[in-house]
Amino acid sequence: MTEQQWLKMYRETVHPLYGYMAKRTRGNRQLTEDIVQESYLRALDDWNRKAVPDSPLAWLKRVARNILIDYLRQKRWVNKENLDLNPDSASQTSKDQFESLEIFLAISTLGRKKARILEAFYYDGMSIREIANEMAISERAVEGQLRRARQSLKSLLPDSKTNGGKNE
């Protein structure tokens, strides 16, 4: 991988990666930027030693998501004030962001299938049809799985934070 290829890949993936992560951090700019930066640095290290994956964006998203989960797990054991959230965020209060991140952390513990469908619907803003196409299942099946995932999430949270629509 030459420097030109590396930078080309960066320019192609940075917007979707940033959007993917910003939705999960509820628009927390500082946290999103840190995670995106760390994801690319890990990519450079890993791809230099191994090879560039077939889908660099998917690899980056997976790594970014894991970084966020690790970050949240570490912060869960300290109080809310210590959570590194940006109070000047454009549309969210610090408390809202904290609750949003807590939900994301809860989703990440549900298991791969449920987490994937909830994240796709709530964070990535995908429609039932789009999810059905991506997962190669029927829309009805997506609805069923989404309902069960919601119930599982509800049981994990103290009060109903899953009520309401999508992020956007």
């Binding site: 420097e3 930078l7 628009g27 930027e33 450079l44 454009a90 549309s91 956007e168």
Partner: protein
Amino acid sequence: MSEIYEPDNQFLDRLEWQLSSEYRRASRLKPASGKIAIPRKVVAITCMVGILMTGVAVIKAAEYIQDSWRKKIEIARAETEVKLKKAHLESTREIASRAEMRFSNGLVEEEEYRVIQIAAKRAELDWNSSLLNLDEVKASGVAPRNELYAPEMGGRDFVSERLKIEIKEIELDLELFRSRVERLKQLVEKGLVQEDELDLIQSEIANRKMMIDKIQERLDLRKRFVAGEITAQEVEIGDRLNVAERNLHLAQSRVDTLKEQMMRLKTLETERMISPMEVKQMQYALDAAQAELELATMELDVLKKLK
């Protein structure tokens, strides 16, 4: 899509610059083509293991040098010697056991039987000597030392123990010669053997007795050295004197024996029972023995002056 899900340009430019710099830095650190890229964790672990191994190796090397590789070689050599001597002992014991049965059945003569018995006893002494050497090597880490001024090892005086074994070996010779003397006397009386053969055996017996005396003197010297009564140098001179006296005695004994034989041969020559050539050969042997005697006398004189 909301602005909050879009990166700002400042962040993008900064990140691009950083990733470009990181790429160049990684390229500089990247191993040359053809080489296998080793993960940093593996390198770190390898380094740690290497350092530990080096430390262990240094300690082990120090211990190994301390113990001395020579010690291992010497022990192996001494152990091999013990095994060989043991095998020899078992073999001679078996032969002796068979000889005893044959002797009791009258199938073997007494002299042959005695020789075999003494060979078995000698083999046992050899085995004891090899065990002694092995003990000394284990205690000292070096080859056994036979000098009278050698230090004691592990509270044991190996030099004296070896000298005592030497005495026992000579006593075995004496035992054999004495048995021959009795038999030869009977044969001389019957006129079956000439008297000079008996003289030779008695001369050998006298020599062995002298050798035992000399070993006893060495033992005394050793005892005095271990007790701290005399120095190593005094022991060395004393021991050389002892050896020189023994050599002088043996040379004198040989000269005396050869002179007697010469007288007999001359008588036989006058009776024309032997040729003059046989007398001449005896004269050469006597001349050589006398030269050895002179040399031994000179050596003794030099050592006495040193003392």
